[in-house]
């Protein structure tokens, strides 16, 4: 794999998540507003994000526009890889918010 190929795949992943990250984060902030007493803001947002990113992935790509998967398939990204990266990205951002 060369640098250009790396960049194509990274750019593809960026396109995939630009559709998901803003609504997931916005709803996480909203949900965190109603967090239980004793839980701080960042933890509330982090926990919500871990669960909401896969939910938005499911609604956006599995239900609403499954045909868009073919764009990412042509870049070499399979459906299981995209699902795995959704879970990983949700965990990384969510845990970062909780732990920092």
């Amino acid at each position: 794999m060369n640098d250009k190929d790396d960049m194509r795949i990274l750019r593809g992943i960026y396109f995939f998540y630009t559709k998901l990250i803003v609504p997931s984060l916005a709803l996480s902030i909203l949900i965190a507003y109603f967090r239980p007493a004793g839980l701080d803001w960042k933890t509330g947002i982090g926990i919500s994000l871990i669960f909401l990113l896969p939910v938005f992935h499911y609604f956006s790509y599995e239900l609403r526009s499954p045909q868009e998967y073919y764009f990412y398939h042509n870049l070499g990204l399979s459906r299981p890889i995209l699902w795995l990266s959704t879970i990983m990205i949700g965990l990384i951002f969510g845990l970062a918010l909780i732990l920092i």
Binding site: K4, D5, R8, R11, G12, F15, F16, T18, K19, S65, Q67, E68, Y69, Y70, F71, H73, N74, L75, G76, L77, S78, R79, I81
Partner: protein
């Protein structure tokens, strides 16, 4: 015996390494109780345009998806230039697929999609194209269905892969633009292999070097137009001569 076995393996390796082009063999797919594909074979060389015809439900799209790797088969063998292809990741620089439905992400600007999909040289060519230039700063969702389809085909044709699988490329495109796209496919197919299927068989016949008919789960090579009538793809009223 050991010598014999080694000879046999050497023979197989030499066959595989000499096998240039896209080779698809032994594809079997059963859905429910229906055998959709039954030991299907199809091949394509760089510079070849192979037309794949078949009635509705004959398994054309299923076959293309199996070759591409997005649909599992009960059995399949796909190789490119002698190398067995097992995953989409291995395909990404060798084989691209145009799906029946619009596949471009709606929320991205067209110039960004081109920069992602094509090499710098091909991006320069594509962004200067008469169809693409007016839309560069637009998002895909701002294009009409026909404009999207043209863009999708141009993107694939300007990618650096060796083979293209085009599933109903002319769907939703006006006759004038179909003619232009056929010319573009013909020109670019000199450097890449194309397997194309479309319900408008005349367009497929126009641009194909070879025609393969998918019938009852098997592929049949079409040598002349009347074979399409004999195999029941076209009505008898269309027989020539």
């Amino acid at each position: 015996m050991a010598k014999h076995n080694n000879d046999w393996f050497d023979f197989r390796i030499s066959i595989n390494s000499n096998m240039s082009g896209l080779h698809v063999d032994s594809v079997r797919k059963q859905i429910g109780s229906r055998q959709i594909l039954n030991d299907v074979f199809i091949s394509c060389e760089p510079g070849d345009v192979v037309g794949l015809l078949g009635r509705n439900g004959s398994g054309k799209s299923t076959l293309l998806k199996i070759i591409f790797g997005t649909l599992s088969a009960d059995n399949k063998f796909v190789s490119i230039d002698g190398k067995k292809i097992n995953s989409l990741y291995e395909n990404r620089l060798l084989l691209h697929y145009l799906s029946q439905d619009n596949y471009l992400p709606n929320h991205i600007r067209i110039k960004s999609i081109i920069a992602c999909f094509c090499s710098r040289e091909k991006s320069t060519v594509l962004t200067a194209h008469q169809f693409v230039k007016p839309f560069l700063d637009k998002k895909v969702q701002q294009l009409s269905g026909g404009e999207r389809r043209i863009l999708e085909i141009l993107l694939l044709i300007h990618s650096d892969v060796k083979y293209l699988l085009l599933d109903e490329p002319f769907n939703g495109i006006s006759p004038l633009h179909i003619e232009i796209l056929k010319d573009i496919i013909r020109i670019h197919a000199k450097g890449m292999g194309v397997i194309i299927t479309d319900h408008d068989y005349k367009n497929v016949l126009d641009i194909s070097d070879r025609i393969v008919l998918l019938d009852n789960g098997n592929t049949k090579v079409i040598r002349e137009f009347n074979d399409l009538v004999d195999f029941g793809y076209l009505p008898k009223s269309q027989r020539l001569g």
